[in-house]
Amino acid sequence: MFNSLVQALNLIYFGDREVFSIAFTSLRLSGASTAICACIAVPLGVLLGLKSFRGKRIIVIILNSLMALPTVVIGLIIYSFISRSGPLGSLALLFTPWAIIIGQVVLSLPIITSMVYGALGKTDRLLPETLITLGAKRKDIFWMTIREGRIALLSAILAGFGRVIGEVGVSMMLGGNIRWYTRTLTTAIALETSKGEFELGLALGIILMLFAFGVNFTLHWLVKHEQ
């Protein structure tokens, strides 16, 4: 075990090409899916927070339930759409980085949306009233709500990122764990561990944990800096 750890650290320290390629693929795909997801989920969460309409409660309940959706189920559903015989088969998306991105967007959408909505519920109820009395239009209220809630929104986005960079199901089923192409940290760890290659698995695991800690530290720093 100790031996494996030393070898793993060696792999990272001497910049093993494959280790870094895998880490970069993970970062790139999770970054892209989180960015795309944030563009949809943040406005959605803000609208849910600001508007009151019929059926809003149901939507919130569904979103909360979807947060618990297993990654393999998401993988299965999207697989059935993009596999060659599926309705989107002609796009040849299966086993490409795009397939992983689509799956991860679906995975993080309910998480980021619910967290944005929840965070806005905690912002001061005087904010919208203050904006309206100063003559703000809907558009102004929307942007100012995002501006005032930016730390909460950022933590929602980072939580989404944390979820997708650590998931295996979607990446494995939709990406196929193809070397130099769709192999991510999590799929590689699963593979190397099953092969008995603990050094490589451990090295990748350490990088994955560093990413996770990095996200948390960034978040704490931002919150502290803001205050």
Binding site: E129, T130, T133, G135, R147, E226, Q227
Partner: protein, 327 residues
């Protein structure tokens, strides 16, 4: 409706929860370029009324019209614990101007002008997180003033501020009135209310209470160890001897005695006035007299008959020095 009236409230009923009205106002009007004070305890409905006048809430029943129309864009409300946007004082005060797409140079000069109006010159670059309660209140005032509204609604402006800031807010309210603005505010600080009001409306559990006092604006004419003489219009009242500067005398309606002949009692104030109105109110009659200034009193129906009170008849008005409170 006369031209000097800005707001006209008719048969207003408002409830947050169905079946539990928090405000019921059959009629109320607010005059232009005046200071109207809604006074009352917590939960009396003052804040709700301000929000209704601002259009933040819509009346469940009844109507609120602004200048006779259904339009209230010229009003701005400053909350009791105002919300300040994160960032600098400048960003806060400039916000209303920015969303109106006003020229940045104009914004800059207006922000510094209104910050000096509220006594915060040079505060532009300060972070709002480092401000005291009173400073926050004044930033919110400057932010509201910057958009140059016709009507300023202030919810409990003195609730969270110290005495110097309270007198600064008083000066500011008088200055705004001078500029032609209409100020409507709520407070439970009665001394503050008496000093600044042109009109006092007492609200209790969502209902407007019958007028309880005569409020006279004036100055202290002279004082000795027996009395303070307070001059209001052509009339001078004898008030209990006291130190301090006063601008307002408050005389409860119940403490004014009406008589057809002069009466000799311990009461130090007496004058003659002509009845201008008699209105029935809650089983009593409110008699309005013109004695060079308007004085009102409540009398019973029995007294109305006994004295033969009627419009244009003259009566003596008598009240004790001790009945007058100076503010």
């Amino acid at each position: 409706m006369s031209n000097s009236e800005l707001f006209q409230v008719e048969n207003l009923r408002f409830a947050y929860e169905p079946g539990q009205p928090v405000l019921e106002i059959p009629a109320l009007s607010v005059g232009k370029n005046s200071v109207t004070v809604f006074a009352g305890g917590n939960g009396s409905g003052k804040t709700t009324l301000l929000k209704l006048l601002n259009g933040l809430l819509l009346p469940g029943e009844g109507r609120i019209s602004y200048k006779g129309r259904n339009l209230r864009k010229e009003t701005v409300l400053v909350h009791q614990n105002p919300y300040l946007f994160s960032g600098t004082v400048f960003q806060n005060v400039a916000y209303g101007l920015k969303i109106r797409k006003i020229d940045p140079a104009v914004i800059k000069s207006r922000v510094s002008r209104f910050l000096s109006v509220v006594g915060l010159e040079g505060f532009e670059a300060r972070k709002v997180g480092n401000l005291s309660g009173g400073e926050r209140q004044r930033v919110a005032l400057a932010r509201a003033l910057a958009i140059e509204p016709e009507v300023i609604l202030l919810d409990e402006p003195t609730a969270n501020v110290d005495t110097p800031t309270t007198s600064l807010i008083e000066d500011f309210i008088f200055a705004m009135k001078e500029e032609g603005k209409t100020i409507i505010l709520s407070t439970h600080n009665m001394a503050f209310a008496y000093r600044i009001c042109d009109r006092l409306v007492q609200i209790e559990t969502g209902l407007i209470r019958a007028k309880g006092e005569n409020i006279f604006k004036g100055t202290v004419e002279s004082r000795d160890d027996r009395f303070t003489l307070f001059k209001t219009g052509p009339v001078t009242f004898k008030c209990p001897a006291q130190k301090g500067s006063f601008s307002t005398a408050v005389l409860p309606l119940d403490d004014v005695i009406l008589s057809s002949e002069p009466i000799h009692t311990s009461a130090q104030n007496s004058c003659r006035g002509k009845v201008t109105a008699v209105t029935g109110e809650n089983g009593l009659f409110r008699v309005t007299l013109d004695a060079g200034l308007i004085i009102e009193t409540y009398v019973t129906g029995f007294s109305i008959e006994q004295l033969g009170v009627a419009k244009d008849k003259e009566f003596y008005i008598t009240f004790k020095a001790a009945a007058i409170k100076l503010y």
